[in-house]
Symmetry: C2
Subunit: 404 residues, 2 copies
């Protein structure tokens, strides 16, 4: 059996991947257009497309109706029936599942709330949902091709193990090994925020940006880095732990044990603390009565609603958190100089109030007056960024290795 014979065939794979990519991004598109886009000879494109048609990755979907002279272009598109993809996000309190066809269109999804966060329970439940999704997906769009799972924690890429997920209270859970027993396909395990970054880049607010900083502000602050169009994981997969950057060496203690981590100043918990302190200090606020009944009930949504009614305590708390978010984002911009910053996570629900505060802080701190600072975008959370990021990850792999 031959494993590797130098790199002949490498270029053809490369070209196939290129065409595939253009089909995903610009479909429907004609052969001649692909030749223009890729710089390949049109005969080469005909040849490559022939392969893809033969293997049912692509299909012809009609022609253009132009008024120009000449034969009409035959339009090509990814064949959605070629197979299906599964992606799951395991969150704190929910499991979110997406099944897409081969063209990355969502054909089934479900968001299930869960109480029990034990690995055994959560994995069993995830498995149950994935299997259900698989049945539906395979009936509609053909054989399962790959599975992706996003988890809020530190992941060891190689083994597909969750090393540490503080919010789920998991340590060393060999999730890929468990799933692999039930799925013969490739399985990708990743940090949830990292996937979300990829989702925003491919399907969300930051479509097309190649150097991207994604901030996920919620219980903690996580995120993801897209560098040269690729996810950057770090040497051992632990990059993007933004929340534990030190912002104030004399600050208050973080869950990680250190003092003054960014997320002690600018997370959901920090926002709630501001509100509670204001109430304790006797300031009048719409939120006071609501909390009187149930102090646990506070939510970002509630604070936003209060702020929309011009509640001063809510407004002030959001402004303060926004400012601290701005300080940290500014530091990251100086480190990375991204094209765009996408703000996501639970706190992005309050984007209409946080973004102006963040922007103001960024503007104040920007070093170059003449150069344009990076764009600040609100995450497109409706599209379920993390799960869609899993799909994007699968696509990248499928594209890089078209199984021909």
């Amino acid at each position: 059996m031959k494993i590797k014979t130098g790199n002949q065939g490498f270029l053809r794979r490369q070209n196939l991947a290129g065409i595939f990519q253009y089909l995903y991004e610009h479909a429907p598109v004609s052969r001649i257009e692909l030749a223009r886009l890729t710089g390949l000879n049109k005969a080469t494109v005909t040849n490559l497309i022939g392969d893809l048609l033969e293997n049912k990755f692509v299909r012809e979907v009609g022609t253009t109706i132009d008024k120009r002279a000449g034969r009409r272009e035959v339009l090509l598109a990814i064949n959605p029936q070629r197979g299906c993809f599964l992606s799951a996000e395991l969150g704190v309190g929910f499991i979110s599942i997406i099944c897409t066809n081969f063209a990355a269109e969502v054909i089934w999804k479900k968001r299930q709330l869960v109480e029990n966060l034990e690995p055994e329970f959560l994995l069993a439940e995830t498995l149950r949902l994935l299997k259900k999704a698989r049945r539906i997906g395979e009936k509609k769009s053909g054989m399962l091709q790959a599975v992706a799972v996003g988890i809020p924690g530190l992941i060891d890429q190689k083994s597909g193990t969750v090393l540490f997920a503080p919010n789920l209270k998991w340590r060393n859970v060999e999730i890929r090994a468990v799933l692999q027993k039930h799925f013969e396909t490739p399985i990708f395990i990743e940090n949830e925020a990292t996937f979300a970054a990829l989702g925003e880049k491919n399907f969300g607010a930051a479509k097309g940006f190649n150097n991207l900083l994604y901030i996920s502000a919620g219980v903690g602050i996580g995120g993801g880095l897209i560098i040269n169009g690729q996810l950057y994981n770090g040497a051992s997969g632990y990059a993007s732990e933004f929340g534990h950057m030190t912002l104030d060496p004399a600050g208050s203690r973080c869950a990680c044990g250190n003092l003054g981590c960014w997320e002690t100043l600018a997370s959901q918990a920090a926002l709630f603390r501001e509100i509670h302190e204001a109430i304790s200090a006797g300031k009048s606020t719409l939120l006071k009565e609501i909390l009187k009944c149930d102090a646990q009930k506070l939510s970002v949504q509630m604070i936003v609603e209060a702020a929309q009614k011009s509640d001063p305590v809510a407004l002030e708390a959001l402004r303060k958190i926004g400012t601290f978010l701005g300080v940290g984002i500014d530091s990251l911009i100086k480190v990375f100089n991204p094209e765009a910053v996408v703000f996501g996570g639970i706190l992005s629900v309050a984007g209409e109030f946080l973004l102006p505060a963040i922007k103001e802080e960024l503007k104040k701190r920007w070093l170059l007056e003449n150069a344009s600072d990076p764009r600040l975008l609100l995450a497109d959370s409706g599209s379920e960024a993390a799960a869609m990021g899993g799909i994007a990850k699968i696509l990248q792999t499928v594209l890089a290795n078209p199984p021909i």
Copy 2:
């Protein structure tokens, strides 16, 4: 005239570049070894090397003398006579020039002190030195191939312009345009610390690391990022402004206008301030008398010498600065998860005292007990990292496009 005809020939260039790279890293090396290293067929290697020999990029330099049976390997190496490279570092108060042969061996270098920092003067002087170096280099090693210049400031890659160099007090100096009038070769303009990072990766302390964080602590704190073996410049070339990360929102004012930038807490200036404050507070120290004559005379070297004599003020100041360096480096590690961190710049002279303090702080703040934290390395400053980084940059370009 044909500019681009698709990507035929692409693979061959790729393979040539690969062989070239191995020759730089492992020379002298035989054809059979190259075939093993690259995975190419030995006939292909013979063929490619034939091209390189014909164009004088490579030469045969003898054979191995093994005790094994079989014909001896013919060893190949880069031909140092194939041309020369120039690299300059414009510093605050000096111009450093290096001329290397085609094998990246230094064949001439000069470090010239300058008083006047005016762009006109400094550029004229640089030009004079570069021209001198060119004469010498071309006599020894053949035609000039490329020029690199490193500058402590923000660079616009595309135009080769220095947008802002606070320490030189430059703004919008179109340096490439000026140099291009005198050199018909490619000219690379880059931030000095960015080049230093590349120098450390290719010729210095971090040889072989592909995900690298280089910290240059001196007047300010700058640095460079190597990601996947490549320099990362950011979307518009302003990445790695580490010194202006905010470490303490209530801190003291930085030259950039913001409060509590990292470099206000952990630069050469911060170190000097600690010493001066200790003296003002009446603490006894070896440094006191020296400074009595000339308060301006303080240098990192002096503080190191005092510390080596166990001077408590010097030791305490270094420990404190080291701790703050550690806090910032820790944040960057959490963002990047590099394989290694290289500590360079003027403060690295005090490495023997700073590194233990930095390490202690990193250890205290590391999130995962089980996983290994990145290595902390002292820059190999003797090799003139910044100028050598320029050479590395040139090589990368030459390798990627072997001019055949």
